[in-house]
């Protein structure tokens, strides 16, 4: 019997590709978001509203992860944005390799790429895609306990968007409770309260996003990269 000590990182292959993605995005000065949530919390609707709000201000493209369909990609396309579809064929998350291949297929100069991950708060949290910012959406109809139940996803997020604020009166969702939980879990996250349906709060989120785009561009110019 032989014992071999290995110490191989199981996510090593993905992490390496994610680093390559991050370098590529930096060299282009493009800001990349990894948008995550559980199914049905409103990622695509928020994206649609964001595209409307930012039309003419910023060039935004979307990499759309979905198990089998291209329904969400069609919705984004209808807003006039370049979109690349990834069907994971039942796979529960996107990985850095899928993103690298999709990014190559975007035939447009962009300021922002939003990667809409597969609806799932467990598996996608584990896979670095090379993004600059992780954005987690949580909706009021899902209840208050999502952050505590999915601590990794919420701890790693730089932005948390609370959606379906128009339905707040019909739920037991408590925004104070959420703020309290986030203080212990992720005190530095930017939190936005929006309604994808009515558009409430989308302007604030978009203003913040525009600033992040400018910062990324400034960084890019500072390094004198092409």
């Amino acid at each position: 019997m032989v014992q071999v000590n290995l110490g191989t990182n199981i996510l090593g292959a993905n992490d390496l590709l994610a680093r390559q993605n991050r370098n590529l995005f930096a060299s282009k000065g493009v800001l990349v978001l990894n948008l995550m949530s559980s199914p049905g919390s409103g990622k695509t609707t928020i994206l649609e509203k964001t595209l409307e709000e930012l039309q003419g201000k910023v060039r935004l493209g979307v990499i759309e992860g979905d198990l089998y369909t291209d329904r969400d990609a069609k919705r984004i396309e209808n807003k006039g944005a370049p979109v690349i579809q990834i069907n994971t064929q039942g796979g529960c998350h996107l990985d850095a390799d899928m993103v690298a291949k999709s990014y190559q297929n975007i035939d447009a100069e962009l300021d922002v790429v939003v990667i809409e991950n597969v609806g799932n708060l467990v598996c996608p949290a584990e896979f670095d895609l090379g993004e600059d910012l992780r954005v987690v959406v949580l909706s009021t109809t899902e209840g208050n306990d999502k952050p505590v139940k999915y601590p990794l996803a919420f701890r790693q997020a730089q932005v948390i968007i609370v959606n379906k604020m128009d339905l707040l009166p019909y739920t037991d969702f408590n925004t104070n409770r959420l703020s309290h939980d986030l203080l212990d879990l992720n005190p530095t996250a930017q939190v936005f309260f929006v309604s994808g349906r009515t558009g409430e709060g989308i302007d604030e989120w978009c203003e913040w996003l525009l600033e992040a785009v400018e910062n990324k561009k400034a960084q890019h110019n500072d390094h004198g990269q092409e």
Binding site: V2, V4, L6, I10, H93, C123, F127, V148, P151, P187
Partner: protein, 117 residues
């Protein structure tokens, strides 16, 4: 559910190393899984049992998983502490929430055992 993808990469890492070390049969694979990774030990075991029958060298192998705690350090007072279940990153001494997570995200193949030709 992503445990299937994780186990595939475990098996491929072990396979490459086993070839380099002239090992034909793997009997034991030791993994280290942090409690702040989203990989569930039971799901890793389930995935391994499902996949190992496809490869002769893994047919009789068993997975041994060591879980490591979530280790935190308070940036305010320097206190080190661990978290087991309730993921609230608050210093037990000074109550600060300015906490650095220093351990618990581990996910690696520690070792494997096997037989040579």
């Amino acid at each position: 559910m992503h445990e299937l993808a994780l186990v595939e990469s475990v098996m491929s890492a072990v396979k490459i190393s086993a070839a380099e070390n002239n090992i034909n049969t793997v009997t034991r694979i030791g993994l280290v899984v942090g409690r702040f990774s989203n990989a569930i030990p039971e799901s890793l075991e389930f995935a391994f049992e499902a996949l190992k029958t496809d490869e002769a060298m893994f047919c009789n192998a068993q997975l041994f998983i060591k879980q490591t705690p979530v280790v935190c350090r308070c940036r305010q007072c320097g206190r080190e502490f661990t978290i087991e279940r309730d993921f609230r990153f608050v210093c037990p001494d000074c109550q600060s929430n300015d906490i650095k997570i220093t351990g618990g995200r581990e996910l690696y193949v520690d070792y494997y055992e096997g037989d040579e030709d």
